[in-house]
C-alpha cells in the first residue's frame, strides 16, 4: 500500500498553501485581499497601498518571502554545476556572499533570474521566481551534485526600509552594522538560528531573514515586538507595494516584463539576457554555460530589441500601452509594467522596444487610454529612457547603515 504520508500529503480543499507565517499574516491582513504566489496564499494588500509603500521607503516593511522557490545545491560538482547553469561567472563568489544571476536555455533565452547564496563552502542556495527543479535536474546530468527543493523547509522574511537595520538591532540582532550588501551572517535569536542576508527587491536598505519553519512565528514576533515596544513603526506589505518599489529600483519581473523561455509557445516571444537588460551579467570569458554559443552569436549582431526603463510624462497610467517612434508614428513596442512613483511623483515603466538597424528609436511616445468616471479617453505621452534605476538611494549600500 502507498505510505500513509503519501496519501495524507494531499488535500484538494487546500488550494493555496499556508506559509509558516500564515497565522500572523492572516491576523495583520485588514482587507483580506489574497492572491497566489507559487501556490501560497499571499497578501496583495494588507491595509492600503500608500501606507505599505511608504513603510518601505521611509520606515520599515516586512514581507513573507517563503513562497520564493528555494533549492539547496551541494556536492563536489556544485560550483561547476552552477557556473554552467548561469550566465554570470560565480566562481569567485565567496562563502557567505550572495549574487544576482540569470540563466538561459540552449537558445540563449532567459528561463528565470534569481540569487545564489553561498551558504557555506561548497553549499549553495538558489532562489528563483518560478519552479526550476526540472531544469536544474536536466542541467545536473553527468555531475555529482545534490539538488533539493527546500521552498517549504525554509521560512523567509524580508525586512526592508531605511530603519530596517535599527528595527532588527532593536529586535535583538546585534551583528548587522558591518554586514555589507550581498553579505550573509548567522546569529542566534532566543536560542534559534537565523540566517540574515543583506539582500532585497526594493532598492532600499534591507535584509532577508531565513529560519526553520518551526521558528517562523517567533521570528515574526521578535520583529514586530519592536513596534509593540513603541520604538519604530513596522508594517506588513503585500505584493502590490512591492511591485511599485521594484519598478522604481529597476528590477525586472520574469513573466511580467518578459516571457520566460520555458513557457513560451510562439517562436520569437522569448528573450535573451541582452534583450531584457541583463547583458551585464553575461560573461563570455568564464567556462562554458548553457546558451553561451547562442548568446555569442546574438552579441555579434545588431540589437533587435531591449527592455528599457521609461519615465512617462504626466500622471496617466500607461497600462498595456503601445509605444510609437513619434506621435502617431510607427509602432515600436509595448509597456510591460508600470507604476506611479509616490516619492518621485512620476510615471515609471518597463517597456519592450524594437530597435531599427541596431539603434534605439530617437523618440518614444506612449498612446495611453484612461478613464474618468467610466468614460474612456486617449492621450499621448512622451517617454524618456532612464539608463540608471529610477530610485537608487545611497542608504541602500551604506555600511554601516545610517542611524544603525
Amino acid at each position: 500500500m502507498a505510505s500513509q504520508q503519501q496519501l495524507a500529503g494531499h488535500d484538494f480543499h487546500e488550494v493555496l498553501k499556508a506559509s509558516p507565517f500564515h497565522a500572523r499574516v492572516e491576523e495583520q491582513s485588514l482587507v483580506k485581499n489574497w492572491m497566489s504566489w507559487n501556490g501560497y496564499q499571499t497578501a496583495r494588500v494588507y491595509d492600503t497601498l500608500a501606507s505599505e509603500y511608504f513603510a518601505i521607503r521611509s520606515s520599515c516593511s516586512v514581507m513573507d518571502l517563503t513562497p520564493m522557490e528555494k533549492y539547496r545545491i551541494s556536492g563536489p560538482d556544485a560550483l561547476t554545476f552552477l557556473n554552467r547553469l548561469v550566465v554570470r561567472d560565480i566562481s569567485a563568489l565567496k562563502p557567505h556572499r550572495v549574487t544576482y544571476v540569470a540563466w538561459c536555455n540552449d537558445e540563449g533565452k532567459v528561463l528565470d533570474d534569481g540569487t545564489i547564496f553561498h551558504l557555506e563552502p561548497g553549499t549553495y542556495r538558489l532562489c528563483s521566481q518560478h519552479h526550476q527543479l526540472d531544469w536544474l535536474l536536466i542541467s545536473s546530468l553527468g555531475m555529482n551534485v545534490l539538488i533539493e527543493e527546500e521552498t517549504h523547509e525554509v521560512a523567509a522574511l524580508a525586512v526592508q526600509g531605511p530603519t530596517a537595520c535599527s528595527v532588527l538591532t532593536a529586535a535583538g540582532f546585534d551583528t548587522l552594522s558591518q554586514l555589507k550588501p550581498f553579505g550573509i551572517t548567522h546569529t542566534l535569536l532566543n536560542g534559534f538560528e537565523v540566517m540574515i542576508s543583506r539582500t532585497g527587491y526594493t532598492g532600499d536598505l534591507g535584509y532577508e531573514l531565513w529560519v526553520a519553519p518551526a521558528n517562523a512565528l517567533a521570528l515574526w514576533d521578535a520583529v514586530f515586538g519592536v513596534k509593540q515596544r513603541g520604538l519604530y513603526d513596522v508594517r506588513c506589505i503585500g505584493l502590490g507595494a512591492l511591485e511599485m518599489v521594484r519598478i522604481e529600483a529597476g528590477f525586472i519581473m520574469p513573466g511580467d516584463d518578459f516571457n520566460t523561455a520555458e513557457t513560451t509557445v510562439r517562436a520569437g516571444h522569448d528573450r535573451s539576457p541582452f534583450e531584457i537588460g541583463l547583458g551585464w551579467l553575461v560573461d563570455f570569458d568564464k567556462p562554458h554555460f548553457t546558451g553561451k554559443q547562442a548568446l555569442l552569436k546574438e552579441h555579434g549582431q545588431p540589437i533587435k530589441r531591449r527592455l528599457l526603463k521609461l519615465a512617462v510624462e504626466g500622471n496617466k497610467a500607461p497600462a498595456d500601452s503601445f509605444l510609437y517612434d513619434g506621435k502617431r508614428g510607427r509602432r515600436i513596442g509595448t509597456i510591460k509594467s508600470h507604476t506611479w512613483s509616490p516619492i518621485l511623483k512620476a510615471t515609471l515603466a518597463m517597456a519592450d522596444i524594437e530597435y531599427r538597424n541596431g539603434v534605439v528609436p530617437a523618440q518614444i511616445w506612449a498612446e495611453i487610454y484612461y478613464q474618468k468616471e467610466l468614460e474612456w479617453r486617449a492621450t499621448w505621452a512622451r517617454c524618456t529612457i532612464s539608463k540608471a534605476p529610477f530610485w537608487a538611494h545611497p542608504r541602500r549600500s551604506a555600511t554601516p547603515p545610517q542611524r544603525c
Binding site: F12, V15, L133, V265, A267
Partner: protein, 537 residues
C-alpha cells in the same frame, strides 16, 4: 419526380454538418439515415427504462467552435459542460488526480514527483506549440503533394509558411512529436509511472497501436487539441448525452430548410456516365440529386453503396486495403446509485471527470499485445465517466449512468465472438473497475456490452473503428482516405465524401463535414458558408 440539389447519406454528425452548410448556401438538401433515429455514433438512446446512454461517443471536445457558432448550435439546444479533471487509480490503493484547479493539480503531480510537476510546465508549452500548428489545418482541404495545380501548390505554400513560423529546432521537435511513440515522448519529460500512464492513455483510444508504437504521440494531440471556451485540451459532456450534438445540428439544418429521412437505407449510389445521379434505397425507391455526398466510411462507400464497375481498379484496391480495424469496446451501465472510490479523498471532484485504472506503461502495452493476438485485453485500459453527476436528464434522481470506453477489444476473437465471450469481455471490464470501487457491482442495474461488432451493427462504422479509418501516417492528411482522393471528391463526378474517413479524421469534430461542404459549394459555384478557423496568432 423531385430532384434534390444534394443528398447526404448518413445522419451522423458529419453528414448533418455537411448538409447544414449546403442548406445554408440555399441548396435543397436531403439527409438519408438507415436507422430509425439520427446521430450515427453521436446518439443518446434509452436502452434501459429511465436511462439515456451516450452509447457510442461519450465526450465532446474536438467539435470545432467555428462550426458551433456558424450553425448557431447553442440556440438549437446544445450545451457542453466542461469535465473536471481525470484520475488514474493505482494498484497500490493510491491514485493520481489531474485536478481541474491548476494549483491543486500541480501539487498533486508533485506528490508523485516534484520534478514532474515542474516538467509539466515544459510539456504543456510544447504541446501547445504543436496544437497551434495542427489546429490551423483542421478546417482546410489538404493539398495533393504530387499535384502541380496552382491551388495545391498555393495550399502547400500556405502550410509550409505555417510550418516555417516555427524556429529551426521547433521544426525538428515537431517532426519528432509527429513520429514518436507517446510513451517515449512522455519519458523525455516525466519520470513517475502513474503520470506517464495517465497522460499516455488518450493516445491509444480508438487506435490499433500501443503506447510504445511510433506515431502515437500525435494521437494525443487529436484528443488534446479540442477546446471548450478557450481551455485547450479540456473535455465536455453534452447535456442530454451525445445525441444532443446530432439533434442540435439537425435542428439547425431543418431550420435552414433541410429535410431528414430516417429508416431510409441507401442501397446504391446511381452512377451514369461516370456521374452520380442520385441514390436508390433498399426499399427500391429512387431519389435523384445533383450531388451525392457519402458520410459512410471509405470501405462502406466504395465497397458497399457503389457499383465496382463505376470505380477505378486502383481505388478499389485501396478501399479493400483501407485500414479500419476496430480496437475499442464500450459498456454503458445503469447504476442504482453513485459508486464509491475509496482511494479518493472524501468529496473529491475527480469523480466528475475521466477515471482510469491502468497505472503503468507496461500494463497499457500488454493490453495492446492482447489485441494484436485477437484477444480482448485481460487487463484493459478503460475510460470511465459518470455524466449523470451533472446531467439530470440522463437518469432518474439519485441514479447514475456510467459510460465505459474500453481499449482494446478486437473485431474478431479466435473462434468468433459469441454471447458468452462478449459477457466475459464485459466481466473483465467490470472487474477492472470493481477493484477500485467496492460497491460498484451491487449497483449495476443494467449493462450494455458492445464489442466492435455491435458498434458496427448499430452505427455502420466498419469493424467498429471509431475514427472511420485508422489514424496512421498512411491514412492522414493528403493520404486520407487514399492518396489522390483527399479533397473530398469521389472518383465519379458529383460524388463527394464527408465522413471521418476524410481529413482531418475521427472524433466528434464536424470538420470533415464542413470541409466537404466547402469543396461542394466551390464546385457548384455557390457562396462558401463554411467557417474559417478562428485563428490564433
Amino acid at each position: 419526380m423531385k430532384k434534390y440539389d444534394a443528398i447526404v447519406i448518413g445522419a451522423g454528425h458529419n453528414g448533418l454538418t455537411n448538409a447544414a452548410f449546403l442548406a445554408k448556401a440555399g441548396l435543397d438538401v436531403l439527409v438519408l439515415e438507415k436507422n430509425e433515429y439520427i446521430g450515427g455514433a453521436t446518439v443518446s438512446r434509452e436502452l434501459y427504462e429511465g436511462w439515456k446512454y451516450s452509447n457510442c461517443s461519450y465526450v465532446c471536445s474536438l467539435f470545432r467552435p467555428e462550426i458551433y457558432q456558424a450553425l448557431d448550435l447553442g440556440r438549437h439546444g446544445l450545451e457542453v459542460v466542461p469535465l473536471q479533471g481525470s484520475t488514474t487509480f493505482k494498484q497500490n490503493g493510491d491514485y493520481f488526480g489531474s485536478y481541474h484547479q491548476p494549483t491543486v493539480r500541480r501539487r498533486e503531480i508533485a506528490r508523485h514527483s516534484k520534478r514532474d510537476a515542474d516538467a509539466s510546465v515544459r510539456f504543456d508549452a510544447d504541446l501547445m506549440k504543436w496544437c497551434r500548428l495542427i489546429r490551423g489545418f483542421l478546417l482546410r482541404t489538404p493539398p495533393d503533394p504530387s499535384s502541380l495545380k496552382m491551388r495545391d501548390v498555393m495550399e502547400f505554400a500556405h502550410l509550409l509558411k505555417q510550418f516555417y513560423s516555427l524556429s529551426e529546432s521547433q521544426i525538428y521537435e515537431f517532426i519528432r512529436f509527429f513520429t514518436m511513440s507517446i510513451a517515449e515522448y512522455l519519458e523525455e519529460y516525466f519520470e513517475s509511472d502513474v503520470i506517464l500512464a495517465h497522460f499516455s492513455g488518450g493516445s491509444i483510444i480508438g487506435t490499433g497501436l500501443g503506447v510504445y508504437s511510433p506515431g502515437t504521440a500525435y494521437v494525443l494531440l487529436h484528443h488534446a487539441m479540442g477546446d471548450i471556451d478557450g481551455n485547450v485540451g479540456s473535455w465536455g459532456f453534452a447535456r442530454g448525452g451525445m445525441g444532443s450534438v446530432a439533434n442540435a445540428i439537425a435542428s439547425s439544418f431543418k431550420a435552414l430548410g433541410g429535410e431528414v429521412r430516417t429508416a431510409a437505407e441507401v442501397q446504391q449510389i446511381i452512377v451514369k456516365g461516370r456521374t452520380a445521379m442520385g441514390v436508390v434505397l433498399t426499399s427500391g425507391e429512387e431519389i435523384s440529386a445533383r450531388v451525392v455526398v457519402s458520410n459512410l466510411d471509405a470501405k462502406r462507400t466504395f465497397l458497399g453503396v457503389m457499383d465496382r464497375n463505376d470505380l477505378p481498379e486502383a481505388l478499389l484496391h485501396r478501399a479493400e486495403h483501407f485500414k479500419i480495424r476496430g480496437s475499442s469496446g464500450k459498456l454503458n451501465i445503469a447504476l442504482d446509485g453513485m459508486p464509491v472510490f475509496p482511494a479518493l479523498p472524501p468529496g473529491s471532484p475527480l469523480t466528475l471527470g475521466h477515471m482510469h485504472f491502468t497505472d503503468t506503461l507496461e500494463r497499457l502495452e500488454r493490453a495492446y499485445d492482447d489485441w494484436k493476438d485477437d484477444r480482448w485485453s485481460a487487463d484493459p485500459y478503460v475510460d470511465t465517466l459518470i455524466p449523470t453527476q451533472y446531467d439530470p436528464t440522463m437518469a432518474p434522481p439519485g441514479k447514475h449512468m456510467m459510460s465505459v470506453f474500453v481499449q482494446y477489444c478486437p473485431v474478431e476473437v479466435e473462434g468468433g465472438w459469441t454471447a458468452a465471450k462478449r459477457d466475459a469481455f464485459g466481466a473483465a471490464v467490470i472487474d477492472q473497475i470493481a477493484q477500485h470501487s467496492p460497491n460498484f457491482k451491487q449497483l449495476i442495474l443494467h449493462a450494455e456490452v458492445r464489442t466492435p461488432r455491435e458498434i458496427e451493427a448499430e452505427t455502420g462504422l466498419t469493424q467498429g473503428n471509431i475514427f472511420q479509418g485508422e489514424l496512421t501516417l498512411d491514412q492522414l492528411m493528403f493520404n486520407r482516405p487514399f492518396p489522390g482522393y483527399a479533397q473530398y471528391r469521389g472518383p465519379v463526378k458529383n460524388m463527394y465524401m464527408c465522413s471521418s474517413s476524410t481529413h482531418p479524421g475521427g472524433g466528434v469534430m464536424g470538420a470533415p463535414g464542413a470541409n466537404a461542404a466547402r469543396e461542394i459549394l466551390r464546385d457548384l459555384g455557390r457562396t462558401d458558408t463554411t467557417p474559417r478557423d478562428f485563428g490564433d496568432d
